[in-house]
């Protein structure tokens, strides 16, 4: 059985006119990395909240269909149980800092204090996770006196330290500069390599192409396409519906019109593929 199983999910926030998610069916296998793309208001965040239990437990509202994660059933379990299985990190690093802790080390330990992990175990796990997320040297700093990229890694570490089975990331880099983005993606990549199941919503297509096993395209609350990254990210029909190409895909497409991109070669999504395709093209000339 899949680790995450969403069946016929339709969900509407309280006091809104139309559903944010419509008839969603999605399975995620253990260890799989699924990326969700879609324009603003397409339901990406709502889907993240649904997998992490905040829909419907935190937001209330109307829900039809079922969400099952790691043996939990949305109707039968509480948010407190849910958060032990699924970790959620989102856009704004500043708002994810608890605000009740004065150092980074205490901040990361906060979740473990709440579930009664013993002191020795707590310290061990916090040290390990700080090393893994590359913030070991920040332990004594105030969580507010950090750059955005550092703060977001503290937020990630604070979630990862609780050892969830599934990691849900809702545009974790949208408020970060390129350096911060790279640092955060390095952590995500590392987690995925260690076998963590990841659901990521993201606008930065180049990064998705590098990591994701599968890409899901959302539009107006519906899944309109899903499949391997290349197929979804270079799909002309999705582009017509407003999904952008990565800049490498866009350049190669223009080049193909000019005869500069090999006709038999698929369009690239990442920099490496683009470089590869273009140099091969020149070789043939």
């Amino acid at each position: 059985m899949a680790l995450v199983e969403i069946q016929n999910l339709t969900y509407q926030y309280p006091v809104t006119e139309k559903p944010a998610l419509k008839d969603i069916n999605l399975q995620i296998e253990e260890g799989e990395f699924v990326a969700v793309i879609g324009p603003n208001e397409s339901g990406k965040s709502t889907l993240s909240y649904a997998v992490s239990g905040f829909v419907p437990h935190f937001f209330r509202g109307d829900i039809q269909g079922t969400i099952k994660v790691d043996g939990l059933h949305s109707r039968e379990s509480s948010l407190n149980e849910w958060v032990l299985h699924v970790g959620l990190a989102f856009q704004n690093p500043f708002n994810q800092i608890s605000g009740s802790k004065f150092t980074v080390f205490e901040e990361i330990a906060f979740g473990l204090e709440n579930i009664g992990v013993t002191r020795e175990e707590m310290k061990k796990r916090v040290h390990e996770i700080m090393e893994m997320t590359g913030i070991s040297e920040l332990g004594d700093r105030s969580p507010y006196a950090l750059s955005g990229g550092q703060q977001q890694r503290v937020a990630l570490a604070s979630i990862l330290v609780m050892e969830p089975k599934v990691l849900v990331l809702d545009e974790p880099t949208s408020q970060l500069d390129p350096i911060g983005t790279r640092q955060v993606f390095q952590v995500i990549k590392e987690m995925s390599a260690r076998g963590m199941t990841v659901l990521l919503t993201e606008h930065k297509i180049e990064w998705i192409a590098e990591f994701a096993d599968r890409v899901v395209a959302l539009l107006e609350g519906k899944i309109i396409a899903q499949g391997p990254p290349h197929r979804v990210l270079t799909s002309p029909s999705l582009r017509e519906q407003g999904f952008g190409f990565s800049r490498y895909t866009a350049v190669a497409e223009k080049a193909r019109e000019q005869g500069l991109w090999p006709q038999d070669r698929r369009l690239p999504v990442t920099l490496d593929e683009a470089v590869d395709g273009f140099t091969r093209g020149f070789d043939e000339n």
Partner: protein, 258 residues
């Protein structure tokens, strides 16, 4: 820019090592003794005989005197003058200030009030200088204080400076769009609205996100909590606390019987 609102001075001293609850009980005891205890000179005695020696013990006497001088003396001085002048009293008049009589009784009353306030505030300063708020709160939570209440206290200490920083950003942003924030009183009041709006509504949005963030870390979990910091609670701490309780009872008794 300061990122947090704490007075805490990190030093190694016997006062620092005392259990936070013991220190809190001591503060409470000083206040009770000063306000309920018998004798005109008791608050003065507490200041000279207990609070100042404790600041020496805590190795924070310099910061303590600095804080009392800047925070407390102006207030207490003002209080003393006002009470001396305006407290109604029929006793012997010391001297006349313009048309106001300053009598022996009103000066005595003013001195007592001022010294009591001095005890109250300066013993709190002592507590805050030697106890980190997160240590105090986690000790109290361990003893059964509601986690949400402790959260409200510690997060306020952290978030207030953040809000001040944000308010400054908003002021700069509005100024750059031509908002006039200087000038006369009316001008300033008018300029307040475009500043308060973004600050308040922005904060409301933040509250929801922060609630999600702490829920995601099992803040409201029914599981028993544990604590990162080991906060020692020695036999000496317990004895000190019971001594404090005893002193309060003595003061109460003296107040009732004497």
């Amino acid at each position: 820019m300061t990122t947090e609102l704490t007075f805490y001075i990190d030093r190694d001293s016997q006062l620092h090592r005392l259990n936070p609850l013991t220190k809190l009980v001591m503060v409470f005891t000083f206040i009770m003794l000063a306000f309920l205890g018998p004798g005109f000179w008791l608050p003065t005695f507490l200041i000279l005989g207990a609070i100042i020696p404790l600041s020496l013990l805590g190795k924070i006497q310099r910061e303590y005197f600095q804080a009392t001088r800047r925070l407390l003396l102006p207030v207490v001085g003002f209080l003393f003058v006002m009470q001396s002048v305006f407290h109604p009293d029929d006793s012997r008049v010391l001297f006349q200030l313009w048309f106001l009589d300053v009598s022996v009784g009103s000066v005595r009353y003013a001195y007592l009030t001022a010294s009591r306030i001095f005890v109250m505030v300066s013993s709190f300063i002592l507590l805050l200088l030697t106890t980190h708020p997160s240590i105090l709160m986690s000790d109290l939570t361990r003893r059964g204080l509601s986690g949400s209440f402790a959260y409200v206290i510690t997060s306020t200490l952290q978030i207030l400076p953040q809000m001040r920083a944000k308010a400054n950003t908003i002021i700069d942003a509005q100024r750059s769009r031509g908002l006039d924030t200087e000038g006369g009183y009316r001008q300033r009041v008018r300029a307040l609205l475009p500043l308060v709006g973004p600050l308040v509504f922005g904060s409301l949005v933040e509250v929801e996100e922060r609630a999600i963030a702490i829920e995601a870390r099992a803040f409201t979990s029914p599981l028993p909590k544990s604590f990162l910091h080991d906060i020692p609670d020695t036999r000496f701490d317990k004895t000190a606390r019971w001594t404090c309780v005893f002193l309060i009872l003595v003061a109460l008794g003296a107040n009732l019987w004497l």
